[in-house]
Amino acid sequence: MKLSYLVSAALLAATAMPAAAAEISDGKVKIGILNDQSGVYADFGGKWSAEAAKMAVEDFGGKVQGAPVEIVSADHQNKPDIASNIARQWYDTEQVDSIMELTTSSVALAVQGISKEKKKIDIVTGAATTELTGKQCSPYGFHWAYDTHSQAVGTGGALVQQGGDSWFFVTVDYAFGYSLKEQTAKFVESHGGKVVGEVRYPLGSTDYSSFLLQAQSSGAKVIGLANAGLDTSNSIKQAAEFGIVQGGQRLAALLFTLAEVHGLGLEAAQGVVLTEGFYWDRDDKSREFAQRFFKRTNRMPNMIQAATYSAVTQYLKAIDQAGTDGTEAVAKELHSMPVNDVFTANGKVQPDGNMVHDMYLYQVKSPSESTKEWDYYKPLATIPGNEAFLSAKESGCPTAGE
């Protein structure tokens, strides 16, 4: 009798995998990577994020609960309307189970709204606004790599500590720029500093000299660049040309990653202080991952790409744990499972959907300090997760209490 129990248990275990596959809707798990693949943020995340997502699926074995996993990706051109159309099409007719990456805050907010309405999971790794886990949070929405608060605390904090108590902001004119500027200004002011001026410019401008001249004549000690991607590269390059740093003012690139440092070159980028959640040369685990990423893409990953890898992996783990790809069950697992992977060792998802983890403050090396290819950062400090991110209570997310 006992034996037959054992046998049936073994049989059950053996059939458990295919049996559970029935719990996966449409017999497969489809993840959509939606981001800017041709515009100013195409290196910030871009098709490299899609590649990181594919790596995550391969490393996971290509299947979850016996069902194959597929990655699809699309270019939203930084336009919320285009992104919304793609998201609806994916959810409604192409059986996409979740959408990730979502660089550009305005796009991320739009797609998170649609995902919430359709009860689908979205994990944002590319956009920055704290609104995603604040007023516009979703019980099925998650924010992974960084946000405007972590950037303000990291880069803003470092410069305030070094005596940068008056700031002038060069802000890109949309949700992300406002959020980044506002968080940084709040932080600066709460530490006794003041904001002396701001100029807002349209996304994708090529010439910053006019804005930089205004910043220069404001006499502020720090010029905060509340922008990202190619915009930041051009701002820094032109600031050097106009002798801004030689004139005694400091530049704060509030969102600047490895991809842009590489594009700008160390000669122009040296000395810039920045905050990232990941650096490829951080430890053995990150180096091993980065080398494999490099083989596929010929570039080292920045925090957006590494976080996309992490998000896809965690999503698949959650499906595995839940035994289904049903949104409620997976969201519950995502909220409760700790994150421990190549991106972070101590990640924790808050009720507002924010994945809280340590952030790092780096300084870009000078050409003479850099000893090998992609050797760009000097670590300055580790910012503990609870300082870098707003708590669920502070976030203002209405569903966080549930």
Binding site: V40, A42, D43, A268
Partner: protein, 304 residues
């Protein structure tokens, strides 16, 4: 001088100190230089070939990238690149004109537009594939690095050089077309190609060279821009729409119109960046709309 600066600090124009105002005007002039050089090439090509060259931005990007590749692959610096890159881009233009564009002259001009637009997408796509969009660094040549304190602003020497170089190129091209014998052939060929051909002038060759010249001008602007902007596949498409507006405001095909309007719109944009920066990428089109309402042929255009 010192006294003048002091006076300047006291004087205000529209609520901003006059030094800041002058600085912004100069910055506008620098941007205007690029607009002028690019719209000049477009105007020359449109005036003589009747082709709306949507590939112009891509040719400008190509010029910058060739400068970058000459430096990184062959160690050829800025000054030789200033000659070589336009020659290569011009050569590319000649090949494109011979192989493709010349076959489109007899059919609807729309096909020329579509072809050049497609060419631009292909060129950008190829560079985006290999170099990404963050761009590649290109430094200011040592001779022109640093800057000069003008009292009202710190002018990077390189930007000063760009203004001078663009003025020389613009007025040189204008003189070539308006004042020389070769230029008179070109202008005549625009008016009546059949008659000019009958006089023994090789019109197809003239057209090929014209497209080559337009492309070379774009390439030259690209090399000049490389040390200022990131050398990026997107650099052309960022600029091309504005440049088209410049050509329309100046009057399609009017060479002097393109030059003068280029500088003027650069200045207008520069001032907008001071007073209402959010609208800085709109102002050119607002001006275009007004000009089209008041003078449909453009400021310097002849009514058809």
């Amino acid at each position: 001088m010192k006294c003048w600066v002091y006076d300047g600090a006291m004087t205000m124009i529209f609520g901003i100190p006059v030094q800041a105002f002058l600085g912004q005007l100069l910055v506008g002039l620098i941007n205007g230089s690029f607009y002028a050089m690019l719209s000049l090439g477009l105007a020359v090509i449109f005036g003589l070939l009747r082709v709306i060259n949507f590939a112009h931005g891509a040719l400008y990007m190509l010029g910058a990238f060739i400068g970058y590749l000459l430096l990184t692959r062959f160690g050829i610096g800025y000054w030789p690149a200033l000659i070589l890159s336009p020659l290569i881009v011009g050569g590319f233009g000649v090949v494109v004109e011979r192989l493709a564009l010349s076959r489109l002259y007899d059919i609807d001009p729309l096909y020329g537009l579509l072809f050049t637009f497609g060419l631009a997408l292909v060129l950008e796509g190829v560079f985006r594939y290999y170099y990404g969009v963050s761009g590649s660094p290109y430094s200011v040549p040592p001779l022109l690095s640093g800057g000069t304190n003008l009292g009202f602003m710190f002018l990077p020497n390189y930007r000063g050089w760009v203004v001078v170089a663009s003025m020389i190129v613009c007025f040189g091209t204008w003189a070539l077309i308006e004042k020389t014998r070769l230029g008179s052939y070109l202008r005549a060929a625009t008016e009546n190609p059949g008659l000019v051909q009958a006089f023994g002038v090789n019109v197809p060759l003239l057209l090929t060279l014209t497209y080559g010249l337009g492309a070379a001008l774009a390439g030259l602007a690209g090399v000049l821009a490389a040390p200022i902007y990131q050398v990026s596949p997107l650099m052309g498409s960022d600029l091309i729409i504005v440049v088209f507006a410049v050509v329309v405001v100046g009057g399609m095909g009017s060479i002097l119109g393109a030059i003068v309007t280029g500088y003027m719109l650069g200045l207008a944009e520069g001032l907008t960046k001071v007073f209402y920066p959010e609208a800085s990428n709109l102002v050119v089109f607002v001006i275009m709309a007004i000009v089209l309402l008041v003078r449909p042929a453009g400021l310097f255009g002849r009514d058809a």
